[in-house]
Amino acid sequence: MLQARLLEEKLASLYRAGGRIVGGVYIGKGQEAFSSGLAVHLEKGKDVYAPLIRDQAGRLVFGEPLLDSFRTYLGVITGPMRGRDGNVHRGRPKEGMPAMISHLGSLLSVVNGMLFARRLQGRLGNSVGATSLGEGGTSTGAFHEALNQAAVEKLPVVIAVANNQFAYSTPNERQFACGDLLDRARGYGIGGHAVDGTDLVACVQVFGEAVKRAREGQGPQLVIGSLLRLSGHGEHDDSSYIPDTLRGSSLGQDCLPMAERSLKDMGLISDADVREWKEGYLVDIDAALSQASKEPTPDPFRESWRALSTTELVEGQFEA
């Protein structure tokens, strides 16, 4: 989560400076504990991880290369999206990391399908799928359909819902009327877990249990994390709609220094460790940025921009 925070600070500063970043910048400040608390239980090459827009931390923990991030933000062709789709939309589906589309809730059924096919092919084993969503995304029909589908098929999927109190600017009281989003789990007959999304140790524990249950065949597990987004929806947004009282509440605690304190109290890390990691990460970030900056952007005149993979059906290549 430290690496993600430093990376996103760099991306945000590049965005503010202008000229380098193609498209918007959407960061996960305040959600790193919740995001990485899930990903730390996943195994790349075995599990499916479908991150959403505030999952830079989870992506790095899962094993997405740092370069993928810069290459996508700078829109160069060496990145996973080859300069065609931006930034938080990146993914590598064939490596178990589907690429999100902007339509919220629609990624869950894709994860369901990946697990469903693996089970049909007899190679599901004890792998799991995991995906994230904000509380606002739980209002979509796609989310409800897919959650029900996962429950009917008893798929080993973990759904992390970061309840960060605002969907862009819309507060929870305009988003849902149930007392607790955890009710959604009961409603669909699946496992439900609640966690303080600002507490790394709690997140690691709760996600550990949820992933374990999914691996054991207990079906979908919904994890609701309570927290506050410590940034705007994107870097263009000053988030002035978030009241100071909420910022000052326990929901508004910054998970990063909290995690640092907890781990030091537990004797797991020292000040020197943190200093050393920070220096190392900054070097890596600068190196990745420098490399991606030198790489070419797309050239529609030289590249194939076909929407179909079947060459003979592509317009202009069918003339007799």
Binding site: P80, M81, R82, R84, D85, H89, G91, R92, P93, K94, P98, A99, I101, H103, S106, L107, L108, S109, V110, V111, N112, G113, M114, L115, F116, A117, R118, L120, Q121, G141, A142, E145, A146, N148, Q149, V152, W305, R306, A307, L308, S309, T310, E312, L313, E315, F318, E319, A320
Partner: protein, 312 residues
């Protein structure tokens, strides 16, 4: 042997399941019940564990198909009626259609759409959606007109590495019969001349092929020799122009209108279709003439008499 259009669709699914272990079927009421039209009759018995009833969740059905395709499967999704595919529209046009372009990952899914109006079916069980989907790059639209088409095109659809919207016409399900399925002779995307003629060409697809042949036979009595061409495939730029349609130098595109929603599709479908035509050989269909300015020619076609169809 006599086989209906609907039976050919079942047979093609049987063959796809038999020959490709990656194929599975997912849709509402398609397992033990065999589907609302019985297009999957007995398949769940013949292929246990590969034919699944889906919840009434078209969005999630298509999303699941995309995920399965990423993992190497070749799902066939049955929409109970073409009309209900609008509930899965987002997954079709945004998730499935863009997957290859975005991520270089192919998306071999087939979505079967029982299409078209039949008497008494009303506005929500009668729609023809093909021209709507033809607007989206990344989708292949197949519109079988004959029993043989239904069989071979469905097998083609499953074999294709791109998402296919397979528009089968309900009007043809039961009454269209063939004695044999023949050999696969036409590669995907190729059109054929159904009825030769030399005065003008009617290009059409699906059920309207049969209506057009009947109309051509009527006109034969007046001495007009009308050629009827069956178009087969559409994608982002609509039903494609095949050079064989140019023989008479007077081409006319025909499609069947649906209920009110279909009307709008009808107009745009025409415009998409015509983009595939060289402008000198292009003519609008009747509904086009009444409503649209031709994107190829700047003149309005309002009230254009039929003998002026050939415009530049």
């Amino acid at each position: 042997m006599s086989m209906t259009y609907l039976e050919a669709i079942r047979e093609a699914q049987y063959e796809a399941l038999r020959t490709n272990p990656g194929v599975f079927l997912y849709g509402q009421d398609i397992a033990a019940f065999g589907g609302a039209f019985k297009a999957t009759k007995n398949l769940s018995k013949e292929f246990p564990g590969r034919v699944f009833d889906a919840p009434i969740s078209e969005d999630a059905m298509v999303g699941l198909a995309v995920g399965a395709a990423i993992e190497g499967a070749r799902p066939i999704i049955e929409m109970q009626f073409a009309d209900f595919s609008t509930c899965g529209f987002n997954q079709i046009v945004n998730q499935a259609a863009t997957l290859f372009w975005r991520t270089n990952t192919t998306c071999p899914i087939t979505i079967r759409l029982p299409s078209g109006g039949t008497a008494g079916s009303g506005p929500f069980h009668s729609q023809s959606m093909e021209s709507l989907y033809a607007h989206y790059p990344g989708l292949v639209i197949l519109t079988p007109a004959s029993v043989e088409d239904a069989y071979w095109m469905l097998l083609d659809a499953v074999a294709l590495d791109d998402p296919v919207i397979f528009c089968e016409h309900k009007f043809l399900y039961y009454h269209l019969k063939a004695d044999q399925l023949g050999e696969r002779t036409l590669p995907i995307g190729k059109a054929r001349i159904v009825r030769p003629g030399r005065h003008a060409t009617v290009v059409t697809y699906s059920a309207m092929v049969h209506e057009s042949v009947r109309a051509a036979e009527e006109l034969q009595k007046d001495g007009y020799q009308i050629e009827v061409g069956r178009s087969a495939v559409g994608e982002a730029d609509g039903h494609r122009y095949d050079p064989c349609f140019g023989r008479t130098n007077r081409s006319h595109f025909m499609r069947r209108r649906g209920f009110p929603l279909g009307w709008r599709n009808c107009r745009s479908g025409g415009s998409r279709f015509r983009r595939g035509f060289p402008s000198s050989r292009c003519a609008a269909d009747a509904s086009e003439r009444q409503r649209h300015t031709d994107p190829v020619s700047p003149q309005s076609l309002e009230g254009a008499p039929s003998d002026q169809f050939q415009h530049r």
